[in-house]
């Protein structure tokens, strides 16, 4: 493998010159983090801050395997093809020991397929798609956050107990929306076989025609509405629905709607009385959850979003996996991830051996207005493990190894 040292030197110089974000080429353990920092800046920013907070704590405590832990953050513009190229660069040129990142499911799936093919460990931190660990799962891909299926099942449980009989759904017209509706329906019909779905609305993602959607939902006169829209779509939907009285006398179940990322931009127009999954950081005072909130606020002079906590947990998880592996070899890390226990702000979580999914759960509660903003009240933390199929069921979902 002896090649011209001159050329290699040139390449290194060029690489350094091109990489203003890369850290020092010192003896650290590097992890490649690929995300949509530009395209989803409002989400990726807090997530990155969460990672950095965790890294500071980990390294202050001596790092992992005796070395500082370092993340190399790279932006993929939200493009799967770009993400794969970066993954290759991180693993083959930057010397990272494993990959993590992504919020968008399609990017997560692309990296996962690449990781499975090339034999790199990938911790999918935020993508929600069920197929990531099931239909398209592979032994190198692990997922931290509670999936669409898990969160939809939590809401279905609440819906089954709500007394509503007829349901209408509104979800963005793409894979996440479809998965979220399908999972909710399946879980609800299991718990309440006589539940009836009277309308399904599918606005194009981020292009909702809210007035028309609200009229169509109103026309179906459901007892309850299951909402999967988010971001600017949610704002428009809530405003039109509020104005036109859609939510009066109806139960509404909102997937992710209670996450600060989504409810905060609504300000004092946040809906009241919706049952949602989210992150009530404002009520977390004690225990590991409260400690994280306090540390985050002290460090950044800002409050944590859900993404902040997921970022924090991502770094914790990776540190735990490396420590357990005792090595930075891919196979060792992969083996360490299987059945890995991590103590996190939401409590202990486990990466299931059956499908590489962590048991991180979600907070379910009811929305209310407090100090001119939306919050969750009467919330409870639901353990994700309780909403996952059994290892036997999962086996049928995953492709044969």
């Amino acid at each position: 493998m002896k090649r011209s040292t001159f050329l290699r030197g040139l390449a290194v110089t060029a690489a350094l010159g091109m990489l203003p974000m890369a850290g020092f080429a010192q003896d650290t353990i590097k992890v490649g983090e690929i995300n949509h920092y530009k395209r989803l800046a409002a989400f990726a920013g807090p997530y990155k801050q969460g990672i950095e907070l965790a890294l500071e704590e980990i390294n202050a405590a001596g790092g992992v395997l005796g070395k500082p832990l370092e993340f190399i953050f790279r932006d993929d513009q939200g493009e799967p093809g770009e993400a794969i190229k970066i993954a290759e660069e991180l693993m083959s040129r930057e010397g990272t020991v494993m990959l993590t990142g992504s919020i968008l499911s399609n990017v997560g799936l692309a990296i996962s397929s690449f990781a499975g093919e090339k034999g790199y460990v990938y911790l999918a931190s935020e993508p929600l798609a069920d197929s990531l660990v099931w239909a398209a799962g592979n032994k190198y891909t692990f997922r931290l956050r509670s999936s669409t299926h898990m969160q939809a099942s939590m809401l279905a449980e609440a819906a089954a107990e709500s007394g509503a009989n007829t349901f209408a759904t509104i979800a963005p017209n793409y894979a996440y929306g479809k998965d979220a509706v399908a999972a909710f329906k399946a879980a609800l019909l299991k718990l309440k076989p006589d539940a009836e779905f009277v309308a399904e609305q599918w606005p194009a993602v981020f292009k909702i025609d809210a007035g028309a959607e609200v009229q169509a939902l109103e026309r179906a006169k459901p007892d309850a509405i299951y909402n999967v829209t988010f971001g600017p779509d949610l704002a428009k939907f809530v405003r039109e629905g509020g104005d036109r009285g859609l939510f009066e006398g109806r139960k509404v179940f909102g997937l992710l709607s209670g996450e600060p990322e989504y409810i905060d931009p609504l300000g004092d127009e946040a809906p009241e009385g919706w049952t949602v999954t989210g992150y009530p950081w404002y009520d977390l005072k004690d225990g590991p959850g409260g400690d994280f909130v306090a540390a985050y606020q002290a460090r950044y002079d800002d409050y944590p979003r859900l993404g902040s906590m997921v970022g924090y947990m991502t770094a914790q998880t990776i540190a735990a996996a490396l420590t357990k592996a005792g090595s930075t070899e891919t196979e060792a890390i992969r083996m360490a991830f299987e059945g890995l226990n991590v103590d996190t702000p939401v409590g202990p979580i486990v990466f299931r051996e059956a499908d590489n999914q962590s048991t991180m759960g979600a907070y379910v509660g009811t929305t209310a207005l407090r100090d001119g903003g939306g919050v969750m009240v009467d919330w409870a933390y639901k353990n994700g493990g309780d909403y996952l199929p059994t290892p036997e069921e999962v086996k049928a979902l995953r492709p044969a190894e």
Binding site: P20, L109, Y176
Partner: protein, 619 residues
């Protein structure tokens, strides 16, 4: 009945912003012939500026004042864009300005992010207009009613401006015949600036006016672009009544679509557009585009010649240097080179159509992504081997191109371009929507090459063989009788037809062939990444290719490849910086202004000037 009325009212209210933005775009196109892709960005700026003003100015007067001021502010921004960016390139080849406006989009995106931050802004309510009116018992938001009332007044005001004032006379004259305006002794430059300002102000007004119904976010610019172009095309480019009618048709149909066909939200407007263009090829109130009548064709292209022996040597050396990359480059550099080669082939296939054929396809991603999907679908559903899938992918893309080309070639100019875009969007929606087969936006994964190829260096050579081979084939065909006939059909269809050349057949075959090569690039792509997602079929992907072809130089044989290589390389470097879009946008604008013949064309001109060759006989 009540419900029906309520739906129509909702549709009419939705038409309001759409109309304002669309009529601005139509006005600009009618007079200046510029396809202003930055129009969505102006709309977005209107929303952000309006939002900020509303935070400062209190009460009802403040609210409405903010909307008007936002319009004025965006109008001024429009003037700046016109004077700084577009004025220098009016003389450039047709549609080159479009590339400049694309640069403007990138710049505005980053500036907006810098100024207003990444969070979505919820639009303030209109004071005193919260809540609903009951119309026949149905709740209609008060602000909807206000919009409903305002729009016809704005439309009437514009109608008055266009039909009853001197400015209007000039605008109409310019829309119909540019030369005439010059003959009337009018300063055309300032007329263009004025119209651009007015069009921009209308977009800004539209952005600010929709605030109470939504807000301001960074995706607004692209999200409004497709519907606005659909409206302008359906109405007939340059026609204000057309834009008004089309905005209403699209908005009302959309409301009914949401109710009765909830899954139709992605495709409805494109289907409407295709249907309208099939019946009325120039939109409802448009008229035929005659190529070159607007004096924007630029200088005639130089005759092409086979590469000189020196040029061949340089190319051969370049290929050799690439071939030895695995000896001196890292494995990642091979991945990078693979990406660049695939993109070069994609761009070259579009350039074949655009440069030699003069057929401006806005939807070339349909064949690139199409090829990738053909391969991925074969592997996923039929378990076909990689080799078979790889061979069938270009064929599938080529056949799709033949079918789409057959329909689109009935149209010319901007309408042709928009129809190709509509078909690409249709294909995109199909893939996006049909999750059971295509995986929707979760795509198709685990599409890896056969074992013998599944190694970075081997795949690099494989790509090199097909990408460079494909580019050379394209180049060779340019010099063949067919390539000449394609140029003949572009230069003068009439002359070609009176010389026995079946121009329709020539152009259709060229379309199919470009699709085939685009599909080949797509097949190379999918096996290099192992997965494919609908974004490979998106408008943005079509524009990636379009931009580099223009920047490389439409009227040169090497333009597509050089532009692709150059910009892919730059992008690779720039995307590592936070505000890379700002830099990229400025770079594009810079190239457009400094090298109006594209990189290759302008370099050649420069070299020729150095040598003192005056006529078009240089190499």
């Amino acid at each position: 009945m009540e419900f029906f009325v309520a739906q129509i009212l909702t549709g009419l209210a939705n038409a309001s912003s759409l109309f304002l933005v669309a009529c601005g775009l139509s006005l600009i196109f009618g007079v200046t012939r510029i396809v202003n892709f930055a129009h969505g960005s102006l709309y977005m700026l209107g929303a952000y500026i309006g939002y900020s003003l509303m935070q400062v100015l209190p009460g009802g007067v403040g609210f409405w004042g903010s909307i008007i001021l936002a319009g004025v502010a965006v109008g001024i921004i429009g003037v700046l864009i016109e004077m700084l960016v577009l004025r220098p390139v009016y003389r450039a080849p047709e549609l080159f300005q479009l590339v400049a406006t694309f640069g403007v989009i990138l710049v505005i995106q980053d500036l907006t992010l810098i100024i207003w931050g990444p969070e979505d802004l919820l639009g303030p309510r209109a004071p005193g207009l919260r809540g609903v009116f009951r119309i026949m018992g149905e709740p209609i938001p008060k602000y909807d009613i206000v919009l409903l009332v305002i729009t016809p007044f704005v439309a009437l005001g514009l109608w008055y401006l266009i039909t009853q004032t001197r400015l209007g006379v000039l605008v109409r004259a310019a829309t119909q015949d540019r030369e005439m305006v010059g003959a009337l002794g009018v300063n055309q430059v300032w007329l263009f600036t004025g119209v651009f300002a007015l069009g921009s102000a209308l977009a800004g007004l539209g952005g600010a006016l929709q605030l109470p119904k939504g807000g301001a976010d960074l995706l607004m610019d692209f999200n409004i672009l497709a519907p606005v172009f659909v409206v302008v095309v359906i109405g007939g480019m340059g026609s204000l009544p057309g834009a008004y009618l089309a905005a209403i048709i699209i908005s009302v149909l959309n409301v009914f679509g949401v109710t009765y066909l909830p899954q139709s939200t992605l495709v409805l407007m494109f289907i409407v557009m295709i249907v309208v263009l099939m019946i009325r090829p120039y939109g409802l109130f448009g008229r035929e585009e005659v190529a070159g009548e607007h004096g924007q064709v630029g200088e005639p292209e130089d005759p092409i010649k086979p590469a000189s022996s020196r040029a061949r040597l340089i190319i051969a050396l370049g290929i050799a240097a690439l071939a030895f990359l695995p000896l001196y480059g890292s494995s990642f550099s091979q991945v990078l080179a693979t990406d660049v080669m695939i993109f070069c082939l994609f761009a070259a296939s579009l350039h074949f159509l655009l440069g030699l054929g003069g057929l401006v396809s806005f939807g070339h991603a349909a064949y690139y992504g199409g090829g990738a999907y053909v391969a991925a679908l074969l592997v996923t559903h039929l378990n076909s081997s990689m080799e078979i899938a790889f061979m069938l992918a270009p064929i599938g893309a080529g056949l799709a191109a033949l079918a789409i080309g057959w329909v689109c070639l009935r149209l010319t100019g901007v309408y042709f371009a928009m129809l190709t875009l509509a078909f690409a969007q249709l294909l995109w929606s199909l893939v996006f929507q049909w999750g059971d087969v295509t995986g929707g936006d979760d795509g198709l994964v685990n599409i890896w090459p056969s074992d013998w190829l599944n190694e970075t260096t081997v795949y690099f050579y494989f790509t090199m063989l097909f990408a460079i081979g494909g580019i050379l084939v394209l180049r060779h065909i340019a010099h063949s009788p067919f390539g000449y006939a394609l140029r003949a059909a572009r230069d003068s269809k009439r002359q070609a037809e009176t010389m026995g050349i079946d121009t329709h057949k020539v152009q259709l075959l060229a379309f199919g062939f470009a699709g085939l090569m685009g599909g080949l690039a797509g097949a190379l792509f999918v096996f290099s990444k192992g997965s494919v997602f609908p974004n490979e079929l998106e408008i943005a992907r079509s524009f990636d290719a379009l931009i580099v072809v223009f920047l490389g130089g439409v009227k040169t044989l090497a333009g597509g490849v050089v532009g692709a290589g150059f910009f892919k390389g730059i992008e690779e470097t720039l995307t590592r910086f936070e505000y890379w879009r700002l830099v990229m946008g400025l770079l594009i604008i810079g190239v457009v202004i400094l090298a109006p013949n594209g990189i290759v064309g302008s370099l050649r001109k420069f070299v020729r000037r150095l040598r003192g060759v005056s006529e078009g006989e240089g190499a």
